[in-house]
């Protein structure tokens, strides 16, 4: 089987490799290439079981975990987008991850003895499955126009805490995400389509928007155009 890998280092070139593996994950193929053909091929990996979030790459333009994707003939493998490229398939996640801190994606206070029901726990069970692989961040089109967008995984994380019965200052979190936050999202749903954990950041952002409106905030894009509707009754964006 032949696959193509976009290399980046001393050269920027697409290199083709041939491996003799059947029904193999992309990570197994990358390991085979590195250990037997080309020791300079550079990628990240960890748990090999889709829970550490190290090995996210793009295959034919779509974000996947290398350990969770079965390779097909002719696949083109590239690094994630929207993040600085370090070498081959390895990117620098520092800035992307820094949005968790900017979005204050944590529980505001240590809160003892708050009793959570099964329903309370279910409310953000899915969001707490996030593995921070960065697939959603790479797929997000907003970064081409706003590099400071807090981004899908950080906003999902904010929802995780805002929706938690133990969070006793949710308003402060809602305030934080008004700038470069929920209103910058285009609701295109690309993040949802690539999430290996089936999380929908788009849906979480919509829930955060509702909370924002209830808290008295409004869509600044809407407001800047005076808001309201066109002559034919359709909304103006």
């Amino acid at each position: 089987m032949k696959i193509k890998i976009q290399r980046y280092g001393t050269d920027f070139e697409i290199k083709e490799y041939e491996v003799d593996l059947q029904d193999a994950t992309l990570l197994a193929v990358l390991n085979e290439i590195k250990t037997t053909q080309d020791a300079s091929l550079t990628y990240a990996s960890g748990c090999k079981s889709s829970v550490c979030g190290s090995c996210s790459v793009r295959v034919n333009g779509k974000e996947v975990l290398a350990c969770g994707y079965k390779v097909k003939e002719g696949d083109l493998i590239e690094a994630l987008k929207n993040v600085p490229l370090i070498r081959d398939l390895v990117v620098d996640m520092d800035k992307a991850l820094s949005f968790n801190a900017k979005a204050k994606a944590w529980q505001s206070f240590v809160s003892k003895d708050v009793s959570l029901s099964q329903d309370d726990e279910k409310r953000n069970e899915l969001q707490s499955d996030c593995i921070l692989c960065g697939s959603c961040y790479s797929a997000c089109p907003v970064y081409t126009v706003n590099e400071e967008f807090l981004g899908p995984f950080s906003l999902t994380r904010v929802w995780k805490y805002v929706s938690d019965a133990r969070e006793n200052a949710p308003q402060e979190k809602i305030e934080t995400i008004q700038t470069n936050g929920v209103w910058d999202c285009t609701l295109c749903n690309e993040c949802t389509l690539v999430c290996p954990q089936n999380i929908s950041s788009k849906a979480d952002i919509e829930k955060l928007r509702s909370k924002s409106v209830i808290a008295g905030y409004s869509d600044p894009n809407f407001a800047s155009f005076g808001g309201g509707f066109g002559f034919d009754g359709s909304p103006i964006f």
Partner: protein, 536 residues
């Protein structure tokens, strides 16, 4: 660049230690080989033990007794008591910072039974317990502003000798993987939390690729001692083709182990050493072994074991709701590690160790499921607080040298005539076969010879890739070098212990011999050579 407390490793143990040292007022810096949320802790599935009695009757004493029994006589009862008594508080703390534990109908933290436990004691978050604890700890560190530097790979600890001839730590040298430069981080105290060494078994391990014992190898090079290195836990149920873990909670919930004839052959909820041996015995007879959870039903599996279903589908092409899961035991957890006192300090002053890389003598010869996540929290807190206290009183007195050996320059001279990846695979297979679930004196001795031969050839290997920027070939070579150093120690300890105890099972000495071997093996470095001796 100075800090009071330098934490190396940012899995559960490292992050708890960092938080607690920070709370104690220390200037903390965390260095991490990858990124914190990529650590081995993310893979822990089953749960964290605490005798909360939320589901049925339980007691701290029962937790203590279960742990001691599984340890086969070589746990320190004082440390085990500290662990079990602190457990309810540890879980309450995790709950207070936002960990999404599964809940019971009456709004308590849900608990389930794991092997060797007399009650449902493991608090869990579906089968993502480690993931959710790790991510919450990471968020907490961000909330507290703890400094974390990613992709810094430990090379060596920097030590000095005091006027009273005591060796003390003063920092660490690390490879900045991104730039290829060696960086020196000076610190009054250092906490090593770098994880275990199960990756010696290469593909025969459930562990992430990074579990190569880097901190343990650096610690023994730096003057610390290691203990009980021969005790390596094999998890009974990894997926047969890929060695990916299927949590013990699948058996805790009522899953069966079956052979090819469809017969049950063992108590599925015995401690892991016993279950792994029972499976191994069946396989030796030519049987295949399967985990059967079909009778638990789709709804239960999707609610309590969603990750197991996903992993079995992806890596074994089977759906456990309808089909049997083919399994085999593989290396999962290393009980041995850096010797520490009950205060988490090593023989090197100011150097603390915590988590899987440390040996707090709470697991003895065989760890119970649910006790390792617990260990991270209880001893992580203690290591962080003790290191902070130590650093406040630290007065070096003399001028410190920050000299390190130039490992990278040395490696540049290596000739790359032999592909080290082939040797790495060879050692993995050798260890699985000869240093595995059952061991035998002659096999261990021949394995030691093989390891020594390969070690001598190290200068004929080396990285092929000479790039400075993000050279994973180089990092993997240094990891391999570390595992080779540990492999010799493990084998020496395993040869010396001519008895069977917990996870160390000798087919040529099948009985536990308390008269001779109810002791800890201690490995140390002296005059550039490793030695092994026994101590109580």
């Amino acid at each position: 660049m100075k800090s009071d407390v330098l934490v190396i490793g940012a899995g559960g143990a490292g992050l708890v230690a960092a938080l607690k040292a920070h709370e104690a007022g220390a200037k903390v810096r965390v260095l991490c080989k990858e990124y914190p949320t990529r650590s081995q802790t993310s893979m822990a599935q089953g749960g964290i033990n605490a005798a909360l009695a939320n589901v049925s009757e339980d007691s701290v004493e029962a937790h203590v007794q279960n742990t001691l029994k599984s340890a086969h006589g070589i746990a320190n009862e004082e440390a085990v008591r500290l662990l079990c008594e602190s457990a309810p508080e540890a879980v309450a703390w995790l709950d207070s910072i936002g960990v999404c534990f599964s809940r019971t109908k009456d709004a308590k933290i849900a608990q389930r039974t794991l092997g060797g436990a007399s009650a449902p004691r493991a608090c869990y978050a579906q089968d993502y317990t480690g993931l959710k604890i790790l991510h919450t700890l990471y968020d907490r560190c961000l909330a507290c502003g703890v400094e974390i530097l990613n992709e810094r790979y430990l090379l060596d600890f920097i030590t000095n000798t005091s006027q009273t001839q005591e060796v003390f730590v003063n920092g660490a040298s690390v490879l900045n993987i991104r730039t290829g430069e060696v960086e020196i981080y000076e610190s009054a105290s250092v906490i090593v939390a770098t994880g275990g060494y199960s990756r010696i078994y290469e593909k025969h391990s459930t562990n992430a690729t990074g579990s190569t014992g880097d901190g343990i190898a650096a610690a023994v090079r730096g003057g610390a001692r290691l203990s009980d290195m021969e005790f390596i836990q094999f998890h009974p149920t990894a997926l047969k083709g890929s060695s990916i873990l299927i949590s013990e909670s699948a058996r805790g919930a009522g899953g069966y182990l079956l052979n090819s004839k469809g017969e049950r052959f063992t108590n599925e909820l015995a401690p892991r050493d016993e279950v792994a041996r029972a499976i191994n015995d069946e396989m030796q007879k030519g049987e295949e072994v399967f985990l059967d959870i079909r009778h638990l039903g789709e709804e239960f599996i999707d609610e309590e074991l969603p990750q197991e279903r996903k992993l079995a589908k992806l890596y074994e092409n089977i759906d456990p709701v309808y089909e049997l899961i083919p399994v085999k035991p593989v290396a999962h957890y290393t009980m041995g590690g850096i010797e520490v006192g009950i205060d988490s300090q090593t023989k090197v002053r100011g150097l603390y160790a915590v988590g899987e890389c440390a040996n707090h003598r709470v697991h003895g010869a065989n760890r119970l499921g649910g006790n390792s996540l617990l260990e991270l929290i209880v001893f992580g807190k203690q290591a962080g607080e003790n290191a902070a206290k130590y650093s406040k009183n630290f007065k070096p007195g003399t001028d410190l040298t920050l000299q390190t050996t130039d490992l990278l320059a040395e490696i540049q001279e290596f000739t790359d005539e032999i592909n080290f990846y082939e040797k790495r695979e060879f050692i993995g297979n050798l260890f699985y076969e000869k240093v595995g679930i059952t061991r035998e004196g002659k096999g261990l001795e021949s394995a030691l010879e093989e390891v020594i031969t390969i070690h001598k050839e190290l200068a004929l290997m080396g990285p092929k890739d000479k790039s400075k920027i993000y050279n994973t070939n180089l990092v993997e070579f240094i990891e391999f070098k570390n595992t080779l150093e540990l492999a010799e120690i493990i084998l020496t300890c395993a040869i010396k212990r001519a008895e069977s105890r917990g996870a160390h099972f000798r087919s040529d000495n099948r009985v536990q011999n308390d008269e001779l071997y109810k002791v800890h093996s201690i490995a140390y470095k002296e005059d550039n050579a490793y030695g092994v001796k026994y101590e109580d």
